[in-house]
């Protein structure tokens, strides 16, 4: 137990109580007791003063403390009211996975809570209810960095269920760190998809007035009600609140740690621009339109797949490790056109011989693999490495997880890896796809 927790317990003080403290310096402080800061050492008591500011006081400096007023049990309002459906509007389900789409702040204590019920969303982002009947549904509550293939499967089934029950589109609220992976996974798993499946998140927290969350959500609802039938990520297109971009689920990557426009289409152009005034401007015509087909989930996956980045000085034992541990597939993020240090080649050969699928992508991120140009590439090809064209390393990883769920025959795997299922491979690269 942290020192401050012990102190509060000894004195019979609860978080939320209004107290008066006297310190060694003889100064008196009055305020509300706040919960200790998550990662603090616990040496200080956090007090919220009347003027709204928090300050920390070292427990060791407190010589006297008295409770002024006990915390009232909080009357938290229930936000469960269902909203009436408007018959003329399309229906959109929003699946929550753990990211925060909207927040509410307790200005008394400064605590920030997620807002996710229909009623709360209607209060926070009323615009979306003018576009569609919105049904929010929380399906899991995890950090996006804790996502894993079994959750992709779960999300895919929830999406299919909603769409097959008649929803016109599904939006998935998702933390941004691994949103690209989930988008790719859904792209492969949702077969015969004929309706929009939109992943959305926020780069700047939704409790701040400048958050990108609301506009991203509004644009997502627009895209989810459009004449469109694919998986896409909808996020800010630039730093300003002018338009969002819809990116194809297999071609999108988070390219910045914090900027609003972190998500970029790689080796491809985005599908559409969604302007803040509601206009959707499609940027290409080779996208799937809305159909009435029934979607089904091809959910077979193999989780023993690794994504490995090569680097100068890398030891081949790293490859050996995965083979020894029984991995079924390795996606290599090689250098340049698709190379590894040459001394890795024997280990890679051995991996293939033992039935491990080894795929090559590039850590350049932009551009296409070509392993015919240099001898190392040719040797790797000869060793049985599958060159993954212009696929993103992350997409290739997700795809291999999915492909190995279907077959572990290396020839079959190669065929499937090189088959374009969801726009993950472009046959040729347009000039205007680089660093925009």
């Amino acid at each position: 137990m942290k020192k401050v927790e012990r102190f509060l317990k000894e004195k019979g003080i609860n978080v939320g109580d209004s107290i008066k403290i006297t310190t060694k310096e003889g100064i008196e402080y009055k305020g509300l007791v706040m919960p200790p800061y998550e990662l603090s050492e616990g040496e200080t008591l956090t007090l919220k003063l009347d003027n709204g500011y928090n300050i920390g006081i070292l427990v060791d400096n407190i010589i006297d403390v008295a409770v002024v007023k006990r915390a009232k049990p909080k009357e938290s309002r229930e936000f469960k009211k269902a909203l009436p459906k408007k018959p003329n509007l399309p229906n959109v389900t929003i699946l929550g996975t753990g990211g925060t789409i909207a927040s509410k702040i307790d200005y008394e204590t400064g605590a920030v809570y997620p807002a996710f019920t229909a009623e709360e969303l209607a209060l926070a982002v009323p615009e979306i209810f003018e576009i569609a009947n919105i049904t929010p549904k929380m399906i899991m509550n995890i950090f996006s960095e804790d996502m894993k293939p079994e959750y992709w499967v779960k999300i895919a089934h929830e999406v299919a269920k909603a769409l097959n029950e008649g929803e016109d589109g599904v939006i998935i609220g998702h933390g941004t760190d691994t949103m690209g992976y989930t988008a790719a996974a859904l792209s492969f798993m949702l077969r015969d998809l004929g309706k929009p499946v939109i992943l959305v998140g926020a780069q700047r927290s939704s409790d701040r007035p400048s958050s990108d969350a609301a506009m991203n959500l509004i644009c997502s609802v627009r895209m989810a009600t459009a004449d469109f039938g694919e998986v896409a990520v909808v996020m800010h297109g630039e730093t300003g609140d002018t338009y969002c971009l819809a990116h194809r689920g297999t071609k999108v990557r988070k390219m910045h740690t914090s900027r609003r426009d972190a998500f970029r289409s790689i080796n491809d152009i985005p599908i559409a621009k969604i302007w803040s005034d509601g206009r959707i401007e499609f940027l290409r015509d080779d996208y799937r339109r809305r159909t009435n087909s029934e979607v089904w989930v091809d959910d077979k996956v193999e989780e023993k797949v690794a994504l490995v980045k090569t680097f100068p000085g890398m030891h081949s034992e790293i490859i050996d490790f995965f083979v020894d541990k029984g991995y079924k597939g390795i996606v290599i993020e090689g250098t340049g056109l698709g190379h590894t240090p040459t001394h890795l080649i024997p280990s890679i050969e051995r991996a293939v011989q033992e039935g491990v699928a080894v795929c090559m992508t590039s850590q350049c991120i932009y551009g296409r693999i070509n392993m015919n140009v240099y001898s190392t590439g040719r040797k790797l090809l000869k060793a049985g490495v599958i060159p993954c064209e212009d696929m993103l390393p992350e997409t290739a990883y997700v795809k291999l997880v999915w492909v190995l769920g279907h077959t572990q025959n290396l020839e079959e795997v190669r065929k499937m890896m090189l088959t374009n299922y969801a726009g993950e491979i472009t046959p040729y690269t347009r000039f205007d796809t680089y660093l925009r």
Binding site: Y29, S40, S76, A102, D106, Y107, P209, S210, R259
Partner: protein
């Protein structure tokens, strides 16, 4: 003014903001303003919901109107943090240190742990929609001859972006100022005399300057006053620039409140009440069809209307002076300013081209009694209605005395309506910055190196540099002390540095805008002097020109004005010429010709040669000739 402030129950509190001369608070971007704009971006700010589902209604309405904020940035002086595209870095250590120094200088106690908060600000001036702010220290005080004044809090916070332009539905800000650290010092409302407020502000200002880490110049210091008297209301006055104006502004605010109370009493006596103040606007456009009033004629021509508002029992009171040159009518006009340029009220008419006949016609149309007044607005109908609505609101408030509001300080010491008093701050913790423990080591280190307070500095100057006490005091008061010490370091004699900085510059103040003269200019001029390129007589002329043309360099001015010193050889040549022209006199009178020759030489060489050198040369030459 012979007011008894104690009897009036005068209460004044100060809030002083001063920029620190460090990097920005949460990112090491240089904290400088710039004129070049490299890029712009456009954002909207959405009000955040409280846990009870409440959203600030006013803010939501603003948001729904689609107000956008355009931010101007410069690649060098802005960064992702201040575009709200990156989480904040840890606070600038120097800023934190300076804030703690200031705390100690103001007898305050640092908090054990600093917690940065987010204070919601939705007008766009903070890109994120909130200002980061933290209490650094509490419980300070300033002693004055009228008694001690408390300083409950000393905060360290981020300055806001500066507004460049306001357009329809759009505000343009420049983000260079955003994030510059500000120290905010608030006092308790224990100031009971206008002069006491100045003393407190001066003391705080001295402490801030003592750190040598505060920014100087226009806009780097903002002093707000909270003023109230018994029966009046708390008025927040923003934007007080000069120390000397503080007592005047307070006096005038007291005067304003007293007069508004008088108006209230008179209205009460006349039996005025809120029910009679009806939101009824009379269309009197026809009365002004052939008016001589250009403003009204122009409005009508543009398809506008002339609307009249009836203010029963207000006759004579709208024109009642409440501050020198300002009337209740001025306060009404300030409120209406949101919609129209101005209003006309009965107490000022006939005037502005409006005739007595027109006034009479309006009185008749509205059926006004002897004590009743009217206000006119000429504009597009909807706008005119809104403007008169504001006037009506202000009239209603007059029934109750002094309305609480935030006012803007005007250059003459009067104040003008700015906006309603802000509501309670909405704050929540800045979770991106962990709490910062103020360690014993930090405190000890700061206490051991506390800067010199101005009074001590004056005494040191007198002792160490042997300069006159009043000179020393002026140097410190005028914030020339840092420059003064720098000049001494350069090798300038203290007495010369002091007299040029104080006497010469002060003398020029009446003639030219001396605030244009930078420290750089001054140092350059002294460098020229030390290098024997100019005489000390040249300073005045050079500074005068620099004040008018700050883009020039001191050297450039010296050259242009022919103030550069001649080399000893050139001086000698000129003296030789003069000697030759007067050789007969010299030969005849010897050293008695010295005065005459010196006079002629100086007439040619003043400001171009050191007088001592001239006199030496002249003496030598005469001696040579007459021996």
């Amino acid at each position: 003014m012979g007011l008894n402030y104690k009897e009036l129950g005068l209460k004044v509190g100060l809030e002083i903001h001063r920029q620190l001369d460090t990097k920005k608070l949460f990112s090491p971007v240089p904290s400088e303003l710039h004129e070049e704009v490299d890029f712009t971006f456009q954002r909207r700010l959405r009000p955040t919901m409280s846990e009870l589902g409440e959203i600030d209604q006013a803010a939501l309405e603003e948001f729904k109107k689609g107000k956008t904020y355009v931010y101007e940035g410069n690649y060098k002086f802005s960064d992702l943090v201040y575009m709200d595209e990156e989480p904040p870095h840890m606070p600038d250590e120097e800023a934190l240190r300076v804030a703690l120094q200031i705390a100690y200088l103001l007898n305050a106690t640092p908090v054990d742990e600093v917690h940065f908060m987010r204070k919601i600000v939705i007008d766009g001036s903070n890109v994120s929609g909130f200002q980061r702010t933290a209490i650094i220290a509490m419980n300070g005080k300033v002693d004055t001859p009228w008694g001690s004044v408390g300083i409950p809090t000393i905060c360290l916070e981020e300055d806001a972006a500066r507004i460049i332009e306001r357009e329809d539905g759009k505000v343009i800000y420049r983000i260079d100022r955003l994030g510059i650290p500000l120290v905010e010092i608030a006092t308790t409302p224990d100031i009971h005399h206008p002069e006491q407020a100045k003393v407190v502000a001066k003391y705080i200002g001295d402490a801030l300057r003592a750190t040598r880490k505060v920014k100087r110049g226009l806009g780097t210091i903002r002093q707000d006053l909270n003023v109230s008297i018994k029966g009046g209301a708390r008025i927040e006055i923003k934007g007080v620039q000069e120390l000397d104006m503080i007592p005047i502004i307070i006096e005038r605010e007291v005067l304003r409140q007293l007069n508004l109370l008088k108006i209230r009493d008179e209205l009460k006596k006349r039996g005025a009440n809120e029910e009679e103040l009806k939101e009824e606007f009379y269309d009197v456009t026809d009365i002004f069809e052939n008016t001589q009033s250009k403003i009204i004629a122009r409005a009508i021509k543009k398809g506008g209307k002339v609307l009249a508002l009836k203010l029963p029992k207000f006759r004579g009171l709208i024109g009642y002076e409440i501050q020198p040159g300002r009337r209740l009518g001025t306060e009404m006009a300030d409120r209406a300013k949101k919609y129209v340029k101005g209003i006309f009220h009965i107490d000022e008419l006939p005037n502005y081209g409006i005739t007595q006949e027109e006034v009479n016609a309006v009185i008749e149309r509205l059926g006004l009694g002897e004590q009743d007044a009217f206000v006119l607005v000429a504009a597009e109908e909807e706008i005119a209605k809104k403007a008169l609505g504001e006037v009506l609101q202000r009239a209603k408030e007059a029934l109750y005395g002094v309305p609480e509001e935030t006012r803007r300080a005007l250059p003459d010491g009067n104040t003008q309506y700015m906006r309603p008093l802000p509501g309670k701050a909405r704050m929540y913790p800045e979770t991106d910055i962990p709490p910062i423990l103020v360690t014993e080591e930090m405190k000890e280190e700061i206490l051991a190196n506390l800067p010199e307070l101005p009074q001590a500095k004056v005494e040191r100057y007198v002792k160490e540099f042997k300069i006159d006490k009043s000179l020393a005091k002026t140097l410190v008061d005028d914030e020339r002390d840092e420059l003064f010490e720098e000049l001494i370091e350069m090798g300038v004699k203290p007495s010369l540095a002091a007299s040029i900085l104080v006497v010469v510059l002060k003398g020029l103040k009446k003639e030219v805008p001396i605030e244009n003269i930078t420290d750089g200019h001054i140092k350059e001029a002294f460098k020229l002097y030390l290098d024997n390129k100019i005489a000390k007589e040249a300073f005045e002329e050079i500074f005068k020109e620099l004040a008018l043309h700050p883009e020039k360099s001191a050297f450039q001015v010296a050259e242009e004005k022919g103030l550069t010193l001649l080399s000893p050889e050139e001086v000698e040549k000129i003296i030789d010429e003069i000697i030759q022209q007067n050789i007969d006199v010299i030969k005849a009178t010897g050293m008695r010709a010295m005065g005459m020759i010196m006079g002629r030489a100086m007439a040619k060489l003043r400001g171009k040669a050191d007088g001592k050198l001239v006199s030496q040369l002249v003496r030598k030459k005469i001696q040579e000739l007459s021996s």
